[in-house]
Structure formats: structure tokens, C-alpha cells
Symmetry: C2
Subunit: 255 residues, 2 copies
Amino acid sequence: MRNILLTVSYDGSAYHGWARQPGLKTVCGRMEETLSAYFSTPVVLEGASRTDAGVHAYGQRATLKAELGVPVEKIPMVFNTALADDRIEGLSDIRIVAAEERPAGFHARFDAKGKRYIYRIRNSKDPDIFLKRYRWQVAPELDLDAMQAACPHIVGEHDFACFQSAGGTPRETTVRTVYSLDIQRSSADPAELELRIEGDGFLYNMVRIITGTITEVGLGKRRPEDIPEIIRSKDRSKAGIIAPAGGLWLDEVFY
Amino acid sequence: MRNILLTVSYDGSAYHGWARQPGLKTVCGRMEETLSAYFSTPVVLEGASRTDAGVHAYGQRATLKAELGVPVEKIPMVFNTALADDRIEGLSDIRIVAAEERPAGFHARFDAKGKRYIYRIRNSKDPDIFLKRYRWQVAPELDLDAMQAACPHIVGEHDFACFQSAGGTPRETTVRTVYSLDIQRSSADPAELELRIEGDGFLYNMVRIITGTITEVGLGKRRPEDIPEIIRSKDRSKAGIIAPAGGLWLDEVFY
């Protein structure tokens, strides 16, 4: 049984998230079903991150366990052919970017040392309906300096219970380390703000609630210096709104 | 009963086209249901173009007949509020861009003098899965000069039966006039080709089949000078493949 680490990019718009759920279309479920049928052998995947419905990925990682004869360097091409759902283009909204052979005990999630997410906000009075699935569109002008001033308060090891939605997988601890967090205006498009966050792990909806809270700072509803007290409260109701799923990308998983 | 001409932009990805169809989610159907419920009065729309499933619009036009007290200048804002399906953003994938009062006999479709469509091709070896709904992604390098040389053969008054799919609304004649047709590389993104076509009317799938045929010229499968013979044949099987729906935009309707 081979253990192959895949790098997977996907448009999450049409999926109920990464993780298998009976009766729902999920990224992992679709990959397992399609590849199992294509190769006539059971294919099982374990993803590094359980991305939510509507969340996208540039670099999700997943370990694949299967009896497969395909050489590792051919796996991206062969899997992408199997996944293609359009005969003209040969494309799918899921794309295998890379594949590497790993030892039997290696696990995409348990062996991950950290992750980086990107959150994209479009800050413009003129909404773009064609970006609805890919940006949080905020009409009032955001104070970027204030948002940047909020970021350092979140970096470091903290109990992030205040930034966790109810209903996720139960965890032993809500303490996590955020290695870096910053927000910048895109040089290509001045209407676009890009938040980048790296950490050793993230609680359920944590990136989206951090983004919502920092955005409320940008709207003048909160001050940057309110953040430490919000974190100390460990109280979800003290933090900001949850930013929409479509603006979020799982960018990279570190091992 | 007022007669109001709306300019409507929509992302067609999630819809089975513009036209009402029982049991299916369509742009017209969703607008009529939402607005009828919002104003507690029957709202009926007639669109200028029956765009297909997955086709987008910048400037669809539709006449709206209803007993409504809303002043015409407030209609875009009020309708967009009614259509919003996201409480955080207040956005929908349908957006009313403009509204004008018209006399009772005016009809969005019958009074249209012409239409312009845009078709977007992404010509790159590296597919972008996040543009799957909005571009036809063609991997082999296209010969833009040859594609441009094909365009003038299509301009003018012709019987375009060769560029019509079976299954559309029956028409009295398959003669149409194409006023202009050109294809250009985007200055912002050299991977992107933009085809623009204006005409007095278009047959079922006509723009997509013209695009597919011209693209086959760009792939070297046909020569520009083959086009007149294809048109003379009046035979669908002599023309090229149908380009995917997602690359097509209804840009403007002329009155």
C-alpha cells in the first residue's frame, strides 16, 4: 500500500467543504469516488485541513492510501484526467498540483507543522457580482492603518477560544500559536485587501472570525487596542462577525 | 400598470439560464418570485435575450410590468435590497444596474434593434480552476492572426443556419445580420482573448458555435477562407464545436 502526499487546489464554491459527508458533495468525497471508480481499487484520502463549504484552496495537502501502479511523477496528470468533468476543456474545479511518495506512517494532518491562509476583501462602493464567490465585498471605506495596528495583538501563543465557532470537532485545547498576521492592499488592484495568517493550527472558523473582527476595526466599530481584551475574555460573543467563506483560501501547509 | 425597462447584470453560474422553467432555478424566475413576494403584488418580466444555463450578463434588458409605487430612480437600490441573499454583504449574483420608465407598448425583446455579446477565452498551458465558470480555457497556443482573418467572413447579412443548435425556439428565418465581429488580446492579461460580436439578433447558440469555429481556425484545424463555404452549406455539422457557456456574456442590448 503506497502513501502519497498530494497538493490539491480547488474552487470550493460548489462543495460542502473538504471532509466526506454522506449524501453531500464534498471535495474529498468526490476525489475518493472518482479515483476509486477510475482505478477500480479503493482510494482513501486524509486532508491536512477540513476546509468549510465555499472555502477555496491553492495548496491543500492530502495523503492518499491505495494500491496504484501509476508512477508518482505521472499522478498529477493521470488524476487530473480522471477528475475532468468537461470533455472540451479537460478541466475540473479540483486540480492536483503535485504528488510525492511518503513513508507509510506519514499523515497529512498529524504531521503538519503549520498552515497559511489568505483572506481576500474587496473594499469598494461598486460591488462586483462576478467576485461574489471569491471575495468578501465591503462597501464602506476600511481604515487599513487601524487594521494593520490590530494584527500584532493576535500574533503569538494565545488561548483563542474567543475566535472559535461552536460546532467544530472537539479539541483538547484552544491554545494556538499565530506565527504571523498581516494585511496589505494589492498592488495590482487598490480595491483589494489581502490578509495572510500563518500558525501551527487553527480552531473552527478561527481565520474567518479574526478577519471579521479586524474588519470591524477597519470600519471604526472597534479599536486595535481592544483586541487583547477580546482574547483574554475567551468569549466568542466579545469578538466580531464571521467573514464569509468565499474570501478564504488555504494557501499552504508546512511539514 | 407601469412598464419599466431594467438593465440587469448576473452571474449565470448557478442558474438554468434566464427564461422561466418550472422546477428549475432561473434568473427571470428568481427575480419574479422574489420581487412578487417582496411587494405582495404580481411582478412579470420579459427579457431581451434568453441566455442559456451558465451564460452571464453585464447588460441584459427586461421589461417589468407591475403595480408598484417605488419611484423609478429608487428601483435599482430597492430591488437589489430585495434580491440580496447574504445578510453580511447585502449582495446577490443578480444586480439591477438601471431602471427607466417606458410607454405601455414597449417590449424588451420585440423592440430590441440589436445586441452585443462578449466571449472570453483564456489561452494558457496553465489552467486556472478559479476561472472555470468565466472563461473557455484552451491550452494549445491559438493563432490570433488566423482567428482575426476569419472574422470578416462572418460579418454581414447571411443565412446562419450552420451556426444554430437544434432545440431552440422555432424562428421564421435563419437570416441574421452581424454588424461587427472582432477578436483581440487583452492588454491587461496577454493570456486572455476577447471576442466581440454585434448583430440584429442571434440564433440558438449562434455566438458559441461561431466562437468554437473561429477557435478551430486558431488551432489550425480550419482555414479562415473555409468560413464562406461553411455558411453556404447551412449545415450545422460543417461548422465547429460549441464553445462552453461560461465564457459568454450578454454585454448590451440596443434600442
